[in-house]
Amino acid sequence: MGTAPIALQYGFFYFFAGLAILCAILMVCGRNVVHSAIFLIGSLLATAGIYLQLTAEFLFIVQVILYVGGIMVLFVFVIMLVNLDVASRQRQFNKQVWLAVLLTIVLGGELGLMTHVDGSIFNSVNAPQALPANTNEVATALFQTYMLPFEIASIMLLVAMVGAVLMAKRRGA
């Protein structure tokens, strides 16, 4: 996909980007938790598309399998477990909503400004060079350069799993 013509690239990008942002907004604003989850899934899938457009196929797959196929399934599962109709009928936003929105928008604006301060790295390297299909490189980097972090991450996952099990267990079971 990295070799597609530039117009197609822009088309892909803006389509997925718009989809991601739209789904994100809907996710945040949605009243129903399940809808939020679905929109989040949509956003994640759009992001996966962005990855694909960035010729990061492996990451695309990981995103889909882990995020969409694993984590979000967990989310949906839990949502159904603790499903409360009352929750969807209650007020969805807490009291500090307007202040928070304002502040966050200011924050986003400032962060955006960061990319335009002269001398910042984004202006220096402006033309990304094409990265070939790179699953092998990723694997090499993951299992050789980042061996120790990988192991640590796996141990962390194990700990998280055990912790989750313990917390979810009913008392006395």
Binding site: Q96, A100, L103, L107, D118
Partner: protein, 697 residues
């Protein structure tokens, strides 16, 4: 305890090494009495007190023997326990470097040896006597506690090796005399007399203290052993005004303590105290402290001829003056008191003419016979159950023979009948005085006659003639118990033989006593005695003895005639010479004059000062200050309430408000915390951009 000794030899013999213990025994006794005496029986009290004094007397005798066992030029033992007032080094007027150091040191030399013997010996006897005399009195333990305390102070005074420590003892005996004069404090006259003694002594003590200061300033030392070297080092000429001043100041102190004109007035009133007290303190020991002190510092006196003259003059005047008063007194103890004053005058006369050893000799003998007289008087009063007026006595010789005989011996001694102790000492003095000058000799001579007269007047009125005793006391007149008579007998013996240690060469004797004391006396005086007079003095001496003997016998006869044969004559004389009689009888109104001159002026001054005090100090000063303080405090209270507390409350209120605001942040809601985080990030970024803008502009 036997530490660095200025004397040449090394380790001292036992008793000399432990002379510092001599005062300590009575001190211990005093402590025991004043702390626990209330709860123990009289037997224990007397045992402890008399025992302590006996032990110190034993130590004194040991020290004395070990002292005279040494060669004459080494008869000095100094024990310094520790440094009391540390040394201060400073420049004297003479430019030399003075080193003032007052240490807790004890000095035993012939002079102090004689003194401790007298003090402890007579003190022991009087203690024994007191056990009998005070047997029926209240405050038994208190009395003996004071008595022991006095013994301690007196011994400190005598054994001190420097002026300051001597002054400690000096004040100590003063205090004890005050306490003991006012022993019957329920009697106002007694407490007044105590106060009088104390106050009058203050005057003298002030002089003495100034003298001590001046000494340390001029000579740079107050150690007796160093005074003479200091004098020779600071080459002050004989008769230098400074030395004269020092000597005079010392003499002021001496007049205070030893009841000389003009400060003698306290001694007669001191007779309010118990008779043993009068005997011990106001006849034998304390009142002689002045003489001792003058002798102790004779080096200075010898360098101040004028002061010597003053001493001699005052001594002579006092002797005559007191004798004249004594002639007409009716109270037996008053007579003895005035005779004491006059005898002290004798001693000062001797000192004044430079015959210090004679003065000390007379001091010793006087201690014997005057103590005996007082004790006898006490015995008489005891027998008369408290009666002191001689006009209510008479014919007691048969009833209390021991008292009579002992007192007679003492009277003969004081009158100076050969070969009693008084004869030797008094004639030694008179001889010296004759060598010095005729006028003083005449005064002393006449005084001797008067002494004989009034003493025999006392004897006759008390023991002879028909009894004038009131009826109710008549039947239980009785001889005193053994504990009182034995000391009398012992003292009588001493009054006879005690003076023989100073048997003059002229009578084929060798004046041991004077030779013994000789090293104490600095011989600046010899220059002032021309050799020719010294040569003819020997001839004059025997004549003088005979003359005085004659006068004495005349006086005795006069008294016998006047008060035993022609009893009506005194009234006639009184009638004829009314003014003079009245004057003398009222002691020349000295007390009244003093009252008018000093006491009332002092009182007026005190009243005016008091009114000033009330008006100005109290009124304006103290009350004003109080008033001011009150208003300031009201002001500050307002300040405190509204400003200080107000600020505190304001602070707390502010903190409360701030915390109200701060509480809103601590909602416990995660999201609000995260909002705060976002705020922080935004602020940080804004600051970053601000800095960046300033960086680029």
């Amino acid at each position: 305890m036997v530490n660095s000794l200025p004397t040449a030899q090394g380790l001292l013999p036992f008793f000399l090494a432990y002379i510092w213990l001599i005062p300590m025994f009575p001190l211990a006794g005093a402590f025991l009495m004043l702390l626990f005496g209330r709860v123990v029986r009289k037997a224990v009290v007397s045992a402890v007190c008399v025992g302590s004094v006996a032990i110190s007397f034993f130590f004194a005798c040991g020290a004395f023997l070990q002292l005279i066992a040494r060669p004459a030029d080494e008869r000095v033992a100094q024990v310094i326990l520790f440094e009391w007032v540390p040394a201060g080094v400073y420049h004297l007027q003479s430019g030399a470097l003075g080193r003032f150091v007052a240490d807790w040191g004890f000095l035993l030399d012939p002079l102090s040896a004689v003194m401790i013997l007298v003090v402890t010996g007579v003190g022991l006897l009087i203690h024994i006597y007191s056990t009998g005399y005070m047997a029926h009195e209240g405050g038994y333990y208190r009395f003996f506690g004071y008595l022991n305390l006095f013994m301690f102070s007196m011994l400190m005074l005598v054994l001190a090796n420097n002026l300051l420590l001597l002054f400690v003892g000096w004040e100590g005996v003063g205090t004890c005399s005050y306490l003991l004069i006012g022993f019957y404090f329920h009697r106002k006259s007694a407490s007044d007399a105590g106060k009088k003694a104390f106050i009058v002594n203050r005057i003298g003590d002030a002089g003495f203290l100034l003298g001590i200061f001046l000494t340390s300033a001029v000579l740079g030392t107050i150690r007796f052993t160093e005074i003479l070297p200091a004098l020779t080092v600071s080459n002050l000429p004989v008769g230098a005004p400074v030395l004269t001043a020092i000597a005079l100041l010392f003499f002021v102190g001496a007049t205070g303590k030893s009841a000389q004109i003009p400060l003698y007035v306290w001694l007669p009133d001191a007779m309010e105290g118990p008779t043993p007290v009068s005997a011990l303190i106001h006849a034998a020991t304390m009142v002689t402290a002045g003489v001792y002190m003058v002798t102790r510092t004779n080096a200075i006196f010898q360098h101040a001829p004028f002061a010597m003259e003053v001493v001699a003059g005052v001594g002579a005047a006092t002797a005559l003056f007191a004798a004249t008063i004594g002639v007409l007194q009716n109270d037996i103890k008053k007579v003895l008191a005035y005779s004491t004053v006059s005898q002290l005058g004798y001693m000062f006369l001797a000192c004044g003419v430079g015959a210090f050893s004679a003065g000390i000799f007379h001091l010793m003998t006087h201690a014997f016979f005057k103590g005996l007289l007082f004790l006898g008087a006490g015995s008489v009063i005891h027998a008369m159950s408290g009666e002191q007026d001689m006009r209510k006595m008479g014919g007691l010789a048969k009833k209390i023979p021991i008292t009579y005989w002992t007192m007679l011996i003492a009277t003969l001694a004081i009158a100076g009948i050969f070969p009693f102790a008084g004869f030797l000492s008094k004639d030694l003095i008179l001889g010296k005085v004759y060598e010095h000058g005729l006028l003083l000799w005449l005064v002393g001579y006449f005084t001797a006659g008067m002494t004989a007269f009034y003493m025999f007047r006392l004897i006759v009125l008390t023991f002879h003639g028909q009894s004038r005793v009131e009826h109710d006391v008549e039947h239980h007149i009785h001889e005193s118990p053994k504990s009182m008579t034995i000391p009398l007998i012992i003292l009588a013996g001493l009054s006879i033989f005690g003076g023989w240690v100073g048997w003059p060469e002229i009578l084929r004797g060798s004046n041991h006593f004077v030779h013994f004391l000789a090293p104490m006396i600095t011989s600046v005086q010899e220059a002032r005695v021309p050799a020719s007079e010294a040569a003819q003095a020997h001839l004059g001496e025997v004549e003088l003895m005979l003359l005085s003997e004659g006068l004495v016998f005349l006086g005795i006869l006069f008294a016998w005639f006047l008060y035993l044969k022609r009893v009506d004559l005194p009234e006639k004389i009184k009638a004829h010479t009314g003014g003079l009689y009245k004057l003398v009888y009222n002691k020349y109104y000295v007390d009244e004059i003093y009252d008018a001159m000093f006491v009332n002026r002092t009182k007026d001054l005190a009243t005016s000062l008091g009114s000033f005090d009330n008006a100005v100090i109290n009124g304006m000063g103290v009350d004003g200050a109080g008033w001011l303080t009150r208003y300031i405090s009201t002001l500050s209270m307002w300040w405190d309430t509204w400003i200080v507390d107000g600020s505190v409350r304001l602070a707390s209120r502010l903190i409360w408000l701030v915390s109200q605001v701060a509480r809103m942040f601590q909602t416990g809601l995660v999201q609000s915390y995260m909002l705060v985080i976002v705020i922080g990030v935004v602020g940080f970024l804004s600051y970053y951009f601000w800095v960046l803008r300033h960086l680029h502009s």
